[in-house]
Amino acid sequence: MSESLQPQPRFESPSHYVRGRHSGNVQSVTDAGLVVTEVNNGCYLNLRGDASNAEFNAAVLSVLGISLPLMPGTFMANDTECLYWLGPNEWLLVSAQPGQKREAELRAVLNGHIAVVDVSGGFTQLNLSGPSLNFVLKKSSVYDFEAWWIQPKNDLRCVQTTFAKASALVIGQSQGTVAIIIRRSFTDYIAQWLLDCAADNGCFISP
């Protein structure tokens, strides 16, 4: 008998082994200087294509219901999906829906010089918030995030930059909250970095 007749495969998110960890004298999210919360998104799809091609733009819009962000460092979002600008011909789709389904739907309407790659296992999203956030960002990255709050723009802001000794896509959510999307294999390192970084006022990783 095949052993593939087994119960539901066990899912372990990238932060599986660091959830609940904390630094400083904090035991919960309420008294921590930095709160780290992993968001389990349904899928991450890397999308490539020619932004100057109107058909490509229209096809993406027709499937996702949101249009491609064409301004560097911005993203478009609706309730369940976000489309982040990664480069002049590269975007990251983060969706609540399954990756294979979304990939198939996009492939069905896209033609020619395009690429759709399911990278759902390769990334995770950590939401960062709390009074220590700006301090933690200054310690973690060379990018000027302070400017996001000083000169607010209408656009939704995101940027790919260095984060500790790794890299991250950092997404501005609201004053005092950012999300970072990082590579799976760096999750333990980034978690360790954040726990250390915000230890003075405490860091708590949500269970």
């Binding site: 095949s2 052993e3 593939s4 087994q6 539901q8 495969p9 066990r10 899912f11 372990e12 998110s13 990238p14 082994y17 890397n46 490539r48 011909n89 590269e90 294979q100 020619g112 010089h113 395009i114 690429a115 759709v116 790659v117 399911d118 990278v119 759902s120 296992g121 390769g122 990334f123 301090f135 200054k138 310690k139 990255s141 060379v142 990018y143 000027d144 302070e146 400017a147 000083i150 500790a164 000794k165 790794a166 590579r183 799976r184 294999s185 760096f186 999750t187 333990d188 390192y189 360790q192 970095w193 250390d196 970084c197 003075d200």
Partner: protein
């Protein structure tokens, strides 16, 4: 405890808060607000160290970063900090300091011998004395290092933490003296993001020790008012105890903030120091100036001090460092010190002014106080040994170059000197700007730089307070405007300052003696390194002309004070000796760091486990739980081997290797680089990058390829699979993944943008479990029922989509062991689940997890190379016996192809990959060992090649090695030798590089 030099007016120290400390083992008491220097002076401590070369007793000279003598070590053991300046250490309860220069004690002349020895230490001493005999250097060095005593390194790890902050601002103001404060205020008023940093504990700079009223209030009240205005602005970040120590390209500056040094040797909480890495749109430098000491004979005796420092100790700290003052000056400005000293209630013996006639308001004021002013006189020599006892004064000619009359002695215990002021052009110089000498102010001024910066106040050569305040305000508003804030207009009214007019100073850098410098008692230029005027003149006599050479020959300015006091005098003396102007002579280049900077702060938190990212696979915790020993491969942590209890590494690796050949092993291969390649031109592009062709590779098929750099040398290797039309998956080596992706992007983006292809890293997306061995198919069959596993349906170098352990998977039949192998890839979030299911399914076959060491042995048995181990950037595919991987029929000249035809690549005697079989089966040759024909030949031996991989093969029951040997393919059966450092050598026979299953039958089942 009595502080005999403490005045009744306490300045900015607090008489109600006494602080206990020890210096060189003796207990003392100071006050809150004291530096270690002011507290030592308050207690009448004269000698704080011994000089570097001559071991002469030395006392405190300055009051800031310019201090050359008071160099101390704080604390002991792990809690110790070397080479701090007493003038920059704030006093705290329990502070424990020792002189660094003063073995065995600053007060005992055991070093008299060295002193005598030291007299024979001219410039270039090391070069001259220690060139020969070489053997003696070790003896000399030990002696000199002990005598030099440049501080002790901590004996244990530093218990403190340090951190780095990346800062961005519109305007960075360096220095919070009068000009810096008005600059920050004006810049802040525009709403710009401003950072103002100052190295002192409180803002105010020179004004903290000034008696000059501003706006009808005391200077300290003006500081308080201004600082409070700045504090009210949330857009201004104030950093005190923060030294801007480096100014780098594109307005990048580094600041060392000492957060807790003033509280104790270790931080009570949080980081001890913080390194701010600041990118500023505009910079205002307001770094002030250093008073220039006068150079005269025995000017190093304790009790010879900077005039401005004497005023600072009196006014700011309420400390009078002596009783009877002789003030030696070349300018009006220093007369204020005589006034301050007089007001402290102590005796001013005389003011000795080198100028023939002076009658400015300050001079008149001093005369009105009844103080004797000797005009046209110089202090030509200090008397005393561990403390000044008197000053020899003599009349000078108008130029100040000759003694013109009889010498007389003035009794005193303190000689304050001033040769004018030198602008602190250090940070300006860091930008590459060459300082410009200005005779009018007898100082360098900042040069023109390519940075967005300006200097204001004293560091700009503007020594007048009112002018400095105005310059600061103008610069603050201008800098803000250039950064996009405000209209460039000054908003606040300028403070009213009635400074007294000063008459022209005299440019005098060496007070003459009755004897020439070469015969006079030493006239010290650089106190820390004992460089004298005579030494500089001697360097010129010996033929040195360039200021940079003289600096290195004499060590002028090489100390921890970086010549902040001595450099200008030294350059002027050099200019004089060369018979040229100071402008012609120029200055040495100031470079970062402005003051010594803690290594810990530069490292920040990038230490220990955070030194480099540790990348984990999805199965990492399983490996940990099994007791795996890990190996670093790039940033990845990979299991090296999985020891059972009591097993040695050797035993574990042997067991793992045997399991793979005899039943089944399982390897975590998730770390291999994986690049998804899509686009109409994908196959064409891949074919240009690899040596072989992918144009005809069908979906479901894999091919091994080698990638060359354009010079024809192997750069990476791996398998590439065709997923579907126009869609490929490329595997790279673990360490090469990022480099290969950048390499592909480089060629596509810059050379062949017309090729329609996109690359995406999918390394992290997939978790990969490799099962390998004769039982691999049996295990596979238990966890997968939707792929036909039969050899003719799913053969070697095929891949299939399917379901493994209930998971969507891509399964590749590629092999690095030479056995039947399935590489199973699933989305990484299910990696551990897959692994556990495979372990359970394989249990009946005793499935054995193996690590990178067994993987290396197994592939070496098969003669498979590892790029970066068996190749080193100088190996072609031919060198590796891989001509078969070069596509001969390819029409496009793939990357690296042309270079394979270069004459050097066609040489007959290139090193070729061979196997080595040791004559003694158990002898394992060290990797990297050199290969020779005759181990008894005289040195240097003729090298034949070297060993690239070497292991004991449990499966073959003897040692095996891969090596590259000159003309190796024609030398099969020859015996060569690998000599070791101890004179022994290992003999081995040259054999084919494939040791096991040479026909490759085991993987084709």
């Amino acid at each position: 405890m009595k502080q005999k030099n403490r005045l009744v007016v306490f300045g900015r120290t607090d008489p109600n808060q006494p602080i206990n400390f020890t210096f060189n083992g003796k207990p003392y008491q100071g006050l809150l607000g004291d530096t270690l220097a002011s507290a030592l002076l308050a207690n009448g401590v004269n000698v704080v160290g011994r000089s570097f070369k001559y071991a002469r007793p030395r006392g405190i000279v300055g009051h800031g970063p310019e201090e050359p003598n008071g160099i101390i070590q704080l604390g002991s053991g792990s809690a110790t900090v070397p080479n701090l300046k007493v003038t920059q250490v704030e006093l705290y309860e329990g502070l424990d300091a020792k002189s660094v220069n003063g073995w065995p004690s600053v007060n005992i002349d055991v070093m008299g011998l060295v002193g005598a020895f030291g007299r024979l230490m001219p410039p270039g001493f090391y070069y001259k004395t220690f060139m020969y005999p070489k053997k003696l250097w070790m003896t000399y060095e030990h002696f000199i290092r002990k005598a030099a005593g440049l501080g002790k390194t901590p004996t244990e790890a530093d218990p403190d933490t340090y951190e780095k902050l990346n800062q961005h601002c519109d305007v960075l103001v360096v220095g919070a003296g009068p000009a810096g404060l008005t600059a920050a205020l004006e810049a802040g008023l525009t709403g710009a993001r401003v950072i103002i940093a100052d190295e002192q504990s409180e803002f105010g700079g020179s004004l903290l020790a000034s008696t000059q009223p501003i706006d009808d209030q005391s200077s300290t009240d003006w500081i308080a008012q201004t600082v409070s205005a700045i504090t009210a602005m949330p857009n201004v970040q104030r950093l005190s105890r923060s030294t801007v120590f480096g100014y780098y390209d594109h307005n990048f500056l580094t600041i060392l903030e000492k957060r807790t040094d003033h509280l104790g040797i270790n931080s009570p909480q949080g980081a001890r120091q913080r390194l701010h890495r600041v990118r500023a749109k505009q910079v205002v430098l307001a770094t002030g100036a250093f008073e220039r000491p006068l150079v005269f004979a025995h000017n190093d005796i304790p009790g010879v001090m900077q005039a401005s420092s004497v005023s600072t100790y009196v006014n700011r700290y309420g400390v009078a460092p002596g009783e009877k003052l002789v003030l030696a000056t070349t300018n009006d400005n220093a007369y204020q010190t005589a006034i301050d000293w007089y007001n402290s209630g102590r005796v001013v013996v005389a003011v000795v002014d080198t100028r023939q006639a002076t009658n400015g308001p300050l001079v008149s004021h001093v005369k009105d106080l009844g103080i004797e002013v000797l005009q046209g006189y110089g202090v030509i020599q200090a008397m005393g040994s561990k403390r000044v006892r008197g000053a020899l004064v003599a009349p000078l000619n108008e130029n100040g170059t000759k003694v013109t009359g009889p010498v007389e002695q003035l009794k005193c215990d303190l000689i304050a000197t001033s040769g004018g002021w030198s602008a602190a052009v250090h940070l300006s110089s860091h930008t590459g700007a060459k300082p410009i000498w200005d005779d009018a102010i007898v100082s360098f001024r900042p040069g023109i730089s390519k940075q967005q910066e300006r200097s204001v106040g004293a560091c700009n050569g503007t020594f007048d307070l009112a002018q400095g305040l105005l310059e600061g305000a103008l610069a603050g508003s201008e800098a803000a405007q250039l950064a996009g804030f405000g209209d460039g207009q000054v908003k606040r009214g300028m403070p009213i300052v009635n400074t007294l007019e000063e008459q022209a100073q005299q440019a005098l850098f060496l007070i003459p003696h009755t004897l020439p410098s070469s015969r006079a008692p030493s006239q010290f230029v650089d106190l820390q390194l004992d460089v004298s005027a005579a030494g500089i003149e001697l360097a010129v006599t010996e033929g040195f002309e360039s200021v940079e050479h003289v600096k290195r020959y004499t060590a002028l300015g090489f100390g921890t004070d970086q010549g902040k006091l001595g450099n200008i005098n030294g350059m002027a003396i050099l200019a004089n000796a060369l018979g040229q102007s100071i402008a012609e002579t120029g200055t040495t280049i100031f470079r970062p760091s402005y003051t010594p900077t803690t290594f810990g702060a530069i490292a920040g938190r990038d230490i220990g486990e955070l030194f480099d990212p540790e990348r984990y696979t999805a199965m990492h915790r399983w490996h940990e739980q099994q007791g795996a020993v890990f190996e670093d491969v790039g940033q990845w942590k990979r299991p090296w081997f999985f020891p059972n209890q009591q097993e040695t590494m050797h035993q574990a690796v042997n067991r793992e290797c045997m399991a793979v050949r005899n039943s089944i092993g399982i390897l975590d291969a998730s770390t291999l680089g994986k690049i998804d390649i899509q686009g109409p031109d994908a196959a064409e592009f891949i074919t240009r990058m690899y040596t072989n062709s992918y144009l005809t590779l069908a979906p479901g098929k894999c091919r091994y390829g080698v990638m060359l750099k354009e010079d024809g040398m192997i750069f990476d290797d791996g398998v590439c699979a065709c997923i579907s039309d126009n869609h490929y998956l490329m595997f790279t080596t673990t360490g090469g993944a990022a480099g290969v992706l950048a390499w592909l992007e480089l060629w596509q983006q810059t050379e062949w943008p017309e090729l329609q292809v996109y690359f995406t890293s999918v390394t992290d997306h997939w978790a990969t479990a490799t099962i390998t061995g004769p039982n691999a198919r049996n295990v596979m069959a238990k966890v997968c029922d939707d792929i036909d596993l039969s050899a003719d349906k799913f053969g070697f170098m095929d891949w299939r989509d399917g379901t493994v352990a209930g998971l969507a998977a891509r399964v590749f039949r590629i092999s690095f062991t030479g056995e039947l192998t399935y590489e199973i890839n699933v989305a990484a979030n299910y990696g551990r689940y897959l692994w556990e299911r495979l372990m359970a399914a394989g249990a009946e076959f005793d499935i054995t997890p193996y690590g990178t060491e067994a993987m290396h042995v197994l592939r070496a048995e098969k003669g498979f190379i590892i790029v970066g181990q068996d190749t080193d950037g100088s190996m072609t595919p031919t060198d590796m016996n891989m001509d078969w991987v070069i596509g001969k029929k390819k029409t496009f000249s793939f990357v690296g192809k042309r270079s394979l035809e270069r004459s050097d690549c066609l040489r007959d005697n290139r090193k070729r990959l061979v196997g080595l079989k040791t004559l003694v089966p158990t002898a394992v040759i060290p990797e990297g060992a050199q290969i020779v024909n005759d181990p008894h030949q005289p040195l240097p031996m003729a090298m034949q090649g070297h060993v690239t991989s070497s292991y004991f093969s449990a499966n073959l029951d003897h040692s095996i090695a891969l090596a590259v040997v000159k003309g190796g393919l024609n030398r099969m059966g020859e015996i060569v030798y690998c000599p070791a450092a101890d004179g022994s050598s290992i003999a081995a026979e040259i054999v084919n590089s494939v040791f096991y299953d040479p026909k490759g039958e085991r993987q084709h089942v």
